[in-house]
């Protein structure tokens, strides 16, 4: 047995010694039936990279808008306000304390903060101007009620107990504001998803056409493989593998570029934290940051685009073979 193995090894080595080496550093593995670095292939990789970049940036932006819209809704929905109007013959501070105690005892309430007289006066400054003495005016007092995350407060019961126990008190749960905000948020989400769908469709279409263009220059290869007796599956797999590689290469380039851009945008926005403009922008648009979901969406985009490239090449091969026959 050992001698047979030794003889076989000797034969193999003898054959290798006789064999003229491939030129340069080329090995059998480097010989690709489908040319690897053609102009068409590089152009396709560039198209895939650009389209992946655009799709990834769009998905990042849309994820940010959706996150912000959800945040607006939940933040506003977690706020309620109790207004206590001064009533003749009643001590407003005592009424406020009673209202505060009632609100605190309501299930689901996380925090209750009454506004002081000075704070309430300051709320009027945008309309009345500053420097006025409002001591003689019956300025209503506000109590901000914050609801615990995920909790539901029975506003009807709280409203009723306030009406019964506190003179001049009313509860505003911002229902109409929340509904308007919810509509806005839904519109923002739908708009974002629409833009993303359009960009994705444009990406798929342009990658499909670019792949068809790149495949046109490969028609002679498909024909020769067909003529030398290659089966449809073999020819299709050669091209599918090659184009999947191109799609992944272009997709990875575009995806990484988009990721770096979003990260850079995040860094730049972090540099402006604390400024008034940043606070407004963050409240409206959210912060530039890439969460786990964004990475998953990005990877899915790269996979989808590479898949489209591979499947299109397969389809073109099959179509070409049908045409030959």
């Amino acid at each position: 047995m050992t001698s047979r193995i030794t003889a076989a090894l000797r034969k193999s080595f003898a054959r290798l010694r006789r064999r003229p080496a491939r030129p340069g550093r080329e090995t059998r593995g480097d010989v690709h039936i489908v040319p690897k670095d053609s102009i068409a292939a590089n152009a396709l990789a560039a198209v895939v990279a650009i389209m992946t970049f655009l799709a990834a940036v769009t998905s990042g932006g849309v994820a940010m808008v959706i996150g912000s819209a959800n945040e607006w809704q939940s933040e506003v929905a977690r706020e309620m306000t109790i207004q206590v109007r001064p009533t003749p013959g009643r001590d407003i501070e005592a009424e406020i304390s009673r209202a505060q105690a009632l609100a605190r005892s309501a299930p689901g309430v996380a925090e209750v903060r009454p506004y002081s007289r000075q704070e309430s006066d300051r709320l009027l400054e945008p309309w009345l101007g500053s420097g006025l003495v409002l001591d003689d005016l019956p300025v209503p007092r506000m109590i901000a009620v914050r609801i615990a995350r995920g909790a539901v407060v029975d506003t009807a019961a709280l409203r009723q107990s306030l009406a019964q126990s506190v003179a001049g008190a009313s509860l505003d749960d911002h229902r109409s504001g929340i509904n308007r905000m919810r509509g806005m948020a839904k519109a923002a989400i739908a708009g974002g998803m629409g833009v993303f769908a359009l960009v994705l469709a444009a990406t798929v279409l342009s990658v499909t056409f670019a792949t068809r263009g790149a495949m046109a220059s490969n028609r002679p290869i498909v024909e020769v493989l067909h003529f030398v007796g290659a089966k449809e599956a073999y020819i299709a797999s050669q091209f599918q593998r090659h184009f999947l590689g191109l799609g992944l290469k272009g997709g990875a380039l575009g995806g990484i570029a988009a990721m770096l851009c979003l990260m850079l945008a995040g860094r730049v926005s972090d540099m402006f934290i604390g400024t008034a403009g940043e606070a407004d922008a963050a409240a409206l648009l959210g912060r530039f940051s890439m969460g786990f979901t964004s990475y998953v969406v990005l990877a899915a985009e790269v996979g989808l685009i590479a898949g489209v490239t591979a499947l299109t090449s397969r389809q073109v091969v099959i179509h070409t073979l049908r045409n030959i026959e």
Binding site: R15, I33, V224, H226, F227
Partner: protein, 226 residues
């Protein structure tokens, strides 16, 4: 892989038309016997290339029956046709070599597509390239080869898998008379080793050099001169 009972190829009342035009090939009935040698000739436009495409199964006849290695080609699947096509070698007039592959890899293509590893065919390909005089150009790519060298590479590719039938379309159309003679000798040697050969040509001088069966196409009909 043994010789077929009725011949390598059998045509019975085969007709071919493109689209709605008139028939360019009519009532073709002939056969190509195992180990036979024949020239296919006729004036330009007589349908030689179309007939070669029918022989090579890249065209389907409008009517009639083509039997290839005892199989009715009309009833075969695409994969079965691919397998049958491996038993046929073709030399194209325009060579159809892949410019990004070396001469070695071009010639080895028919072996590669059937899943053979390079180690198993390296010696065969190198030996054949030496035989057709391309040993020194084994690692050259087609763009640097002369017309005659490309022609020989195309022939080597057509015969590397030891086909039972060799079809050559104007194989001497681009070479000088001396090389044409060498190529003819190559085809005769292949025929002697058991391959049926069909050479499409209108080179009378070439046909006069070897006494072989002639299939002459004229006005869409075929005339066989045994």
């Amino acid at each position: 892989m043994g010789d077929s009972e009725n011949g390598v190829i059998q045509f019975e009342n085969v007709g071919l038309r493109y689209g709605l035009g008139s028939e360019i090939l009519r009532d073709l009935t002939f056969h190509i016997a195992p180990r036979s040698f024949q020239f296919l000739s006729g004036p330009s436009g007589a349908g030689k290339s179309s007939l070669l495409r029918l022989l090579f199964l890249t065209l389907k006849p409008t009517r009639g029956l083509i039997t290839l290695f005892d199989h009715d080609t009309a009833s075969l699947s695409a994969d079965s046709l691919a397998v049958l096509r491996r038993r046929i070698g073709v030399v194209f007039q325009d060579f159809r070599l892949l410019d990004h592959l070396t001469t070695f890899d071009n010639v080895a293509l028919p072996l590669r597509v059937i899943g053979r590893e390079e180690d198993s065919y390296f010696d065969e390909v190198a030996e054949l390239l030496g035989w057709v005089g391309l040993g020194e150009h084994m690692w050259s790519k087609p763009p640097v080869l002369s017309g005659g060298e490309k022609q020989r590479a195309a022939i080597a590719r057509a015969v590397i898998a030891r086909p039972q039938l060799l079809l050559a379309d104007e194989p001497t159309g681009n070479v000088d008379p001396q090389l044409a003679q060498r190529l003819l000798r190559l085809f005769i040697e292949l025929n002697k080793s058991g391959t049926s050969v069909v050479i499409a040509t209108h080179d009378i001088a070439l046909m006069d050099q070897y006494d072989a069966r002639r299939l002459v196409l004229h006005d869409g009909y075929i005339h066989v001169y045994d």
